[in-house]
């Protein structure tokens, strides 16, 4: 499984071959130096640890600087792991992974943290239909309805969908088409929307299901 860390730059539209609009998300992806190669022998699983993003030098603590020095790379703000099937000898600490990992037309999975929407009712959070507007109803328009039976079982089942905090969770969007790769600008164009708000950190992987 190959992937790269990116930053969501925003969304826009571009023109397709037929002159149609294509909604795209612009992702600033990489370059990501490899900070550590994890192997099954040593760490118990195979993975690549990538680094991405800037942070002021003074904000790094000594242990983390040591970690970056070990790989002989500049200290970066984010460290993220990508699981790999087996260790690739060409990929060693210090090597950079860039957007040319992806080609136009390929499918990718994008993982990020969705926008935090706060406390939301059941209609918005779980797409309930709410109650009827008329026929003598009051205060029922966005109500959740029944949350269970009566004397049996005398309790509400776990997992019953109710109002509560929405968003701000890890979400993966599968099979997004790559519509543009710009190695010079470290830019990736992906068809459609991606979790999170602008400047959110994203993990872009080659699609699992093809």
């Amino acid at each position: 499984m190959e992937g790269i860390i990116g930053r969501k730059a925003g969304m826009t539209q571009i023109f397709g071959k037929e002159g149609e609009f294509i909604p795209v998300t612009v992702i600033e992806a990489g370059p990501c130096p490899i900070a550590q190669v994890k192997t099954a022998q040593k760490e118990g699983y195979n993975a690549l640890q990538l680094a991405f993003g800037q942070k002021r030098k003074t904000l790094f603590n000594k242990p983390s600087i040591g970690h970056f020095e070990k790989a002989k790379i500049e200290p970066k703000r984010f460290l993220r792991e990508f699981r790999t099937d087996k260790p690739d000898k060409q990929l060693e600490p210090g090597k950079e992974i860039k957007v040319d990992l992806f080609t136009v037309g390929e499918k990718v999975d994008v993982t990020g943290v969705s926008k935090g929407l706060g406390f939301q009712g059941v209609v918005r959070r779980h797409k309930f239909r709410g109650g009827p507007k008329t026929h003598g109803q009051s205060d029922r328009l966005r109500a959740p309805g029944s949350i269970g039976s009566s004397s049996f079982p005398s309790r509400t089942f776990k997992g019953q969908r109710m109002a509560g905090r929405m968003g701000n969770e890890r979400v993966t969007v599968l099979n997004l088409e790559v519509v543009g790769v710009d190695l010079e600008k470290n830019m990736l164009l992906v068809r459609g929307a991606v979790p999170g708000k602008k400047n959110a950190i994203l993990l872009v992987k080659k699609s699992k299901r093809r």
Binding site: A9, M11, T12, G19, V26, K185, M187
Partner: protein, 125 residues
Amino acid sequence: MDLVSAVEGKYLKEKKVDFKPGDTIKVHVRIKEGDKERIQIFEGAVIQKRGKGVSQTFTVRKLSSGVGVERVFPMHSPFLANIEVIKKGKVKRAKLFYLRKMRGKAAKIKEMEKEEGKKEGEVKE
């Protein structure tokens, strides 16, 4: 936002045609038929302009054998060959949706008098 505008910049047209809602324009549309390409003209009144940047669109309305036909064109579409302004209209609003209910003489847009046109041009500069 910098990367986003870089992406949009590639698709923006350099040449801008100055027209407003109320103007009568001819839109030259490239149409692909197999390998051949030809140009079709859609002539009518501009009833709205909306959006900005690459996403900007405008709507042109015309009467085609008694039936109102509206077409929305992306301003920066690569399939727009040319836009000709035929008449400058004198209208009092930015969206002319009220024209949809009008028939015959009521649906006519008054033409901008020349002097007024000049004055407006001066203000813009």
